[in-house]
């Protein structure tokens, strides 16, 4: 960490030799191990150790980014000089700039983002755990006939940020992921499904027995699906599909999209955009959150943001540029790679849990759909139109019955949000976007 901070300071010194308005430097160093085991054998073992430095230079109300994975300061200086040449060709933009010093700094609330376990788990153990995960999956049922493999990933990252405003700080994160993809077969029907567990702390991962069982059950329950008729019915979204829907709302409230009016939530601040039961939160300070961090990628202090409260849109999530453009208070949602301008991005985004058990929610549906998968594509962020390929289980008299596939669910995200009738109490923070089970009133299903 100190080495990276020293490099950041050296680069700032170089930058200060040039006549510029300001600059910031982000340095990332990530190490990871990936193991894939399929049918009991290592299929791929991949080690990764990547680093990079990204420099934003602001001169004359113009901003350019230069980045490299070569930490040689002479070469970095050459790139800075070249970028200063390129920047001249841009147009002036009054909103360009670093975040004001008063809003930057580490959050006072301590958050733990690093698990020392990552330094001590022996390679043999990682391989053994991954192998056992797949083995448990095959053991669960004779219907599990094939596997796309069990995977282990552990990643540790060091992030350092420094700016000509005097900011210099860094933090370390870890994340562990165990995943399994299984194939079930019966009477010529072949179905695949997966389960995974991801957490910054090794001890918080689901047990391999639990991951294996879920992956197997999910593949088996999809066997011999029917194609549903085209109709309009109430739909229960399982936590993954609910998280997908919430993720669309998260994207829609990003400042970068809003000022370009490239969002169905543009112009809707203060309006009621969802049912009373909906509270949406972005919290970078979430304990054990996979995207927790003490400050954002521009150094703006992390804080919990309630984006939708009792159905009202209360905030957009902004980086410093979009906050200035929208005259919006800072939210600490600057997000960047080393090679790109900061834009708005979420941290840990979730739908606050409600009062019903998932069973109660399913029970409340006479004839409807329990949605377990939606396929990507099919969202128009400008209008909120939603039309997704989907998979699920049909609900008859409050009971899950047969699997259904090869159909789409369609509507508009804003209508769907208004029609959320029940929110489950089963919120678990599985990834950076999380939600409990929800029930949405009538949705159009296109099938037979």
């Amino acid at each position: 960490m100190d080495k990276l901070k020293n490099l950041a300071e050296d680069v700032l010194k170089i930058l200060k030799r040039h006549s510029i308005e300001g600059a910031d430097v982000i340095i990332v160093n990530s190490k990871s191990t990936n193991i894939k085991i399929r049918k009991g054998k290592i299929e791929e073992l991949r080690f990764s150790n990547s680093k990079g430095i990204g420099i934003r230079i602001i001169k004359n109300k113009k901003s350019g980014i230069t980045s490299t994975n070569d930490f040689n300061t002479e070469k970095i200086e050459q790139q800075i000089t070249n970028m200063l040449d390129m920047v001249q060709y841009l147009n002036q933009d009054p909103f360009v700039g670093l975040p004001d010093k008063s809003i930057t700094g580490r959050s006072h609330q301590e958050i733990d983002t690093y698990d020392k376990m990552i330094e001590v788990i022996p390679m043999e153990d990682k391989i053994r755990i991954t192998g056992q995960l797949e083995e448990e999956g095959f053991k669960y049922s004779k219907l599990i006939k094939n596997s796309e493999g069990a995977q282990w990933n552990d990643t540790s990252s060091k992030i350092v940020l420094a700016s000509t405003n005097g900011f210099l700080d860094g933090y370390e994160t870890t994340n562990f992921t165990l995943s399994l993809i299984l194939v079930a077969e019966k009477n010529g029907s072949r179905q695949t499904d997966y389960w995974y567990s991801k957490n910054p702390f090794f001890k918080n991962l689901e047990s391999i027995g639990s991951i294996a069982k879920k992956a197997a059950k999910r593949a088996i329950r999809k066997l011999s699906p029917k194609k549903p008729s085209t109709c309009k019915v109430p739909v229960v979204l399982d936590p993954d599909v609910a998280a997908d829907l919430i993720g669309i709302v998260a994207t829609g409230c990003l400042g970068t999209r809003v000022f370009m009016k490239n969002s169905f939530l543009a112009g809707k601040l203060g309006e009621k955009i969802a049912s009373d039961k909906i509270k949406l939160v972005d919290n970078p300070l979430l304990p054990s959150g996979v995207s927790s961090r003490p400050f954002d990628d521009e150094g703006v202090t992390s804080r919990k943001n309630v984006v939708v409260d009792s159905g009202f849109l209360t905030k957009y999530l902004c980086d410093s540029y979009s906050a200035r453009k929208l005259k919006h208070p800072p939210t600490g949602n600057g997000s960047r790679t080393i090679a790109s301008d900061p834009i708005s991005g979420i941290s840990n985004f979730y739908l606050e849990k409600g009062e019903y058990t998932p069973e109660e929610i399913i029970k409340s549906v006479k004839n409807g759909l329990y949605l377990t998968h939606v396929h990507w594509t099919g969202v128009n962020y400008v209008t909120g139109d939603y039309s997704r390929g989907a998979e699920g289980i049909w609900i008859n008299n409050g009971e899950l019955t047969y699997p259904v596939q090869e159909f789409t669910v369609s509507g508009n995200v804003l209508d769907m949000l208004q029609n959320i009738e029940m929110v489950g109490n089963d919120l678990q923070f599985r990834d950076n976007i999380s939600a409990p089970t929800i029930l949405i009133g009538d949705i159009t299903i296109s099938g037979r």
Binding site: L45, N49, G52, G64, K261, S340, W376, F407
Partner: protein, 470 residues
């Protein structure tokens, strides 16, 4: 060739020896240097630019069906030796390997570039961008926002393996994109169009790739979609437009024909060579040989020459796309489809440019044969379940066909179905094969590579259309 990225021949031999210290069937070292640049215009101003350099070298060891991989970003002899040792972890066969003398491998010559775009002055690129912006805004007063980007890449790669194979290649890539938002006071609609390939800036001097062309196209779709109606829901006849519809072929059929899925019996097309898997109108080809296309390569990322691979011929499955690993395991020949995102990853079988061979029909004849259906012209992307072939596609530009005529534009249509099933339902194939010049990037197992797609106008008797109108 005395030194590669500062590593001498003698040192290379030592690294390869280290990588094979525990045995193994194959080892290679892949060096890469990549420069990328990006310029964006938004709200009528050239707002931002970026320039990035990334370089490193990766070492792959194969033992049977097992792959070990490790890389370094600081290319020194010691770091490469360490990476070699890490990659060798998986090897157990204790096989004695000899390191063969290095010999330059033959490669093709598919990128005709006078000057690499990244070496051209930034002002030339800004001119292109400004032309797009001006044209799009001038198209219609309803165009309220325009974002234009230009991205370019120069990838220098160098490969050497224990069998003595050696090659270098320099791969250019350019892409110009235009995204427009149209607003008529009541509704807003967005539409994007991109054009590019493995070429220099002269690419944009060709009429169909010109900045005015893509600006007009993006603005046209955005404005047209303002009047789009809700799409009908249910099973309908679908006419796939030329070019862009190739994404359907890529997702719903192509991935299942990549030999890694096929050999693991994870594909719908596993063990079906010689069987009829599509209607007789369908011949599906992957070709890395078409000059200038995004997916075209002089040589793949492990030293095999790309070729024209016929996977499905008149409806019959003929073969798969291979890398050297799948080819060896399945005892077939490598087809030049071993590709990797960067030095950080080992190669795997990937498509280059997939397309359907043109048929005999006139496109007009196909449209006029449909009483009630959908004309799908431009796609937002897609997804496929390779194990059973089920797919979903977002159609960003779609029209209703009524009594043989294209009529109203339709809102955000989704097509859902099963790849092999759709190919069986192909009833007519037109003579108008077209390759998309869009910025298609295919993701598989976390690795993204540029690809091309091509398609003639095709009629499918029925596909499930996800709409809201019952």
């Amino acid at each position: 060739m005395e030194e590669l990225f500062g590593i001498s021949k003698t040192q290379l031999k030592k690294i390869l020896t280290q990588a094979l210290s525990r045995g193994g069937d194959h080892v290679d070292i892949f060096f890469e240097y990549r420069a990328t640049s990006f310029i964006k215009m938004e709200e009528n101003i050239i707002k931002t630019t970026s320039y990035s350099i990334s370089s490193g070298a990766g070492i792959r060891v194969i033992d049977g069906e097992q792959i070990g991989y490790s890389y370094t970003e600081d290319i020194t002899f010691d770091n490469l030796k360490e990476a070699a040792s890490a990659a060798s972890y998986i090897a157990t066969n204790k096989k004695e390997n000899l390191i063969a003398p290095i010999q330059r491998t033959r490669k093709r010559n598919l990128y005709s570039v006078s000057t690499y775009s990244i070496e051209e002055p930034i002002s030339r690129k800004i001119d292109l961008i400004e032309t797009v912006n001006k044209t799009a805004r001038g198209y219609d007063s309803k165009i309220s926002q325009v974002t234009v980007t230009f991205s370019e890449e120069l990838r220098k790669i160098l490969y050497v393996d224990a069998e003595g194979k050696f090659f270098e290649d320099i791969q250019p890539l350019v892409l110009l994109t235009c995204y427009c938002i149209a607003d008529d006071g009541k509704t807003r609609q967005g539409a994007g169009v991109a054009t590019g390939g493995r070429s220099g800036l002269e690419f944009y001097e060709i009429d169909e790739n010109s900045p005015t062309e893509i600006a007009t196209e993006a603005a046209h779709i955005a404005v047209t979609n303002l009047d789009a109606r809700p799409a009908p829901a249910g099973s309908l006849a679908v006419v796939l437009g030329p070019g862009e519809s190739g994404i359907l072929l890529h997702e719903a059929v192509g991935h299942g024909l990549e030999a890694d899925f096929a050999r693991k019996k994870l594909s719908n097309y596993s063990d079906k060579i010689g069987e009829k898997v599509a209607s007789e109108h369908c011949t599906v080809i992957d070709s890395g040989l078409i000059p200038g296309l995004r997916g075209s390569i002089n040589i793949d990322d492990e030293g095999t020459l790309p070729e024209e691979t016929i996977m499905i011929e008149n409806g019959v499955l003929r073969g798969y796309m291979h890398d050297i690993l799948s080819a060896r395991i399945m005892d077939m020949h490598a087809t030049g489809n071993g590709r990797r995102e960067s030095f950080k990853y080992p190669p795997m079988p990937r498509m280059t440019n997939i397309f359907m061979k043109p048929g005999n029909y006139d496109p007009e004849e196909i449209i006029s044969s449909v009483k009630f259906g959908i004309y799908a012209k431009r796609f937002a992307g897609g997804q496929v379940n390779i194990v059973n072939g089920d797919f979903t596609f977002g159609v960003s530009e779609a029209y209703l066909i009524e009594n043989g005529k294209i009529t109203a534009p339709l809102k955000d249509v989704t097509l859902i179905g099963n790849g092999p099933d759709i190919l069986r339902k192909v009833e007519m194939v037109a003579n108008d094969l077209k390759f998309s010049r869009g910025g298609w990037t295919c993701g598989k197992n976390d690795q993204r590579v540029p690809v091309g797609i091509g398609m003639p106008t095709v009629k499918v008797s029925e596909i499930t259309v996800g709409g809201t109108k019952l």
